[in-house]
Symmetry: C2
């Protein structure tokens, strides 16, 4: 499958999802709550989770139309988490637009998230299927995992002894759980056998791990224009990424000291490591810290190690697809995995 | 049925619900999130919504055990709304204990609410029933209504032209929707006919209206010791209760001016109506405002009018029970309605 065939098909599915999302918030009051819900759902993005539902359905032998409501529901669930996470992380922009709590206020953001979750379940229930029970169960377990993952991520901020294996447990909940649920839901609705369902679940799981690792890597190596946010944000916030945790365990001497201070400072990293009395402005202090830490990462081969870890997870994802019958949609899933880990932003 | 028989049976059901609630949050991490969820679910309360599920199940011909998970799920959903509402209303205590965002912090409160909602769905799915689809649908529509009701309530704070009929639409969503869903869910699980399900839904709806009106009334006439919060809180916050909205439309001259200023000031009522330079302290300024407004309510017969409106809704609730077969549980539902509107706190 050529790249342009992949891209055309992906875009067709993405537009299908966007059109369905646009129909979901017709009802509901008051008006500004409806406006906030629409603002979130029309915010664009790659719609990876929804497309994953659709492709998994097709790769399991079903028609994508059979899974379109479930695909939209999964995407709504994802957007619910974004709205609440942005409050908790105090993020000011999302996909280049001000976040809900910035555009409206805290209360609107809390309740918009809550409403979106209800809209997600309502949309899921629109799938006329005899598998409702299982469908709602998968959706609910993914919801719980994503919330727990976010809570672990927040708890990591205050901890100084986070291990790499704890990191993986966190991203498996925060990121991989919804991708694996999306793939399994698609397989279920597509009429896939239990073996096919399990395979697609594994695919989503590995893809999710690779996806989050790539996110961590891009914070350091991305093209800043495409990223939609300043580069090095994780470093400046002392975030316990795979890069930082691996580097802490590999670095020696002064390098190790620097990283341990970074881990300890967490969100206060900039303040603690590059004191304000250095005479520089905020921007150049940020750059100084990012340069320092990136140099350590490079010195100990952390970037290459991360790339290798991403490749390993991508290979696992691709291998999981082996049990599926060869179909264009299986090929699409392969290329989706490649796309996610080769993205430059 | 004597009062003591009613009370004994009610308490037995309430304890049954409490025991089930105590088992729901065994899993999950991190530990302090689990602790916050347990803190909320062990906070006591009358468990009216859960008991309503159980009694409706029995009054429809089923055994209460068949609805115990659904009863717990409805109670968890209610507690989810309390945690988020307390953030949005900036409430410092709930049932005499500090709220979640006070005991922990804002982020913990947001995510605890989110997790509870997931726990609610998970618990609902434990009902082994062929009605899962309908059950999840009722639960989800109630969730959406409750959120919209809360959003309307918040929007009312900033509005000066709220009508009594808008007030009723708000409380029907914020309060009555979950009570009617609880009754209908119980009827569904108890094997009630569509007629019985509709009757119990109507019962819950009228009960919910009466319950909220009673809440509004108690703010003015309750025994302060039993209320668990200072009396007159709604007045001091300029809340658009049934009492205030009816009084605005009945009062004349100076009385009307006072109430209109109260409506306009909303949450700033105390500051605007009893200026700080009056020389009094905060407590006596509160009392002054409460005395003023209560006097107007009394002058125009608003308290009696509210009592009559409560009786009217209670009669509707009781009348809805007529189609049910005479059973002790039907009698319990009658007495439940009487209990809720005769409570002094």
């Amino acid at each position: 499958m050529t790249d342009s065939v992949f891209t055309r098909r992906y875009e067709a599915l993405r537009r299908m999802v966007d059109r369905r999302l646009a129909t979901l918030v017709r009802r509901g009051e008051p008006a500004d709550l409806r406006a906030a819900c629409r603002y979130v759902l029309s915010g664009g993005g790659k719609r990876i989770r929804a497309v994953l539902v659709l492709l998994s359905c097709e790769a399991s032998g079903g028609k994508v139309q059979k899974a379109l409501n479930a695909a939209a529901a999964v995407e709504v669930l994802h957007n619910f988490t974004l709205v609440h996470d942005d409050v908790m992380d105090n993020s000011l922009t999302r996909r280049g637009k001000p976040t809900v709590h910035v555009t409206w206020d805290l209360n609107t953001a809390i309740i918009t998230g809550d409403i979106l979750l209800g809209v997600g379940y309502r949309t899921l229930l629109r799938e006329g299927t005899r598998h409702t029970d299982r469908l709602v169960r998968l959706f609910t377990e993914a919801l719980l995992d994503v919330c727990e993952g976010q809570a672990l991520d927040l708890a990591f901020e205050r901890r100084t002894d986070v291990t790499v294996s704890e990191y993986f447990r966190m991203i498996e909940k925060k990121t991989a759980a919804l991708l694996s649920a999306a793939a399994e839901i698609g397989a279920l609705l597509g009429g896939g056998s239990p073996q096919v369902q399990a395979a697609l679940r594994r695919y989503g799981h590995s893809l999710g791990r690779a996806f989050q690792l790539q996110d961590d890597l891009l914070d350091v190596v991305a093209d800043p224009k495409g990223l939609g946010k300043p580069i090095g944000g994780d470093i400046v916030e002392g975030k316990k990424t795979f890069l930082l945790l691996r580097a802490v365990s590999r670095a020696q001497g002064e390098d190790r000291d620097l990283l341990q201070r970074l881990v300890k400072a967490g969100p206060d990293a900039l303040h603690v490591l590059i004191p304000e009395n250095s005479g520089d402005n905020d921007k150049s202090r940020r750059h100084a810290l990012i340069r320092l830490v990136t140099a350590v990462y490079t010195r100990y081969g952390i970037l290459d190690e991360t790339r290798e870890e991403i490749r390993r997870n991508t290979r696992n994802a691709l291998r999981a697809l082996d049990v599926l019958r060869p179909r264009p949609s299986r090929e699409m899933l392969s290329q989706l995995a490649e796309m996610l880990v080769n993205r430059a932003s």
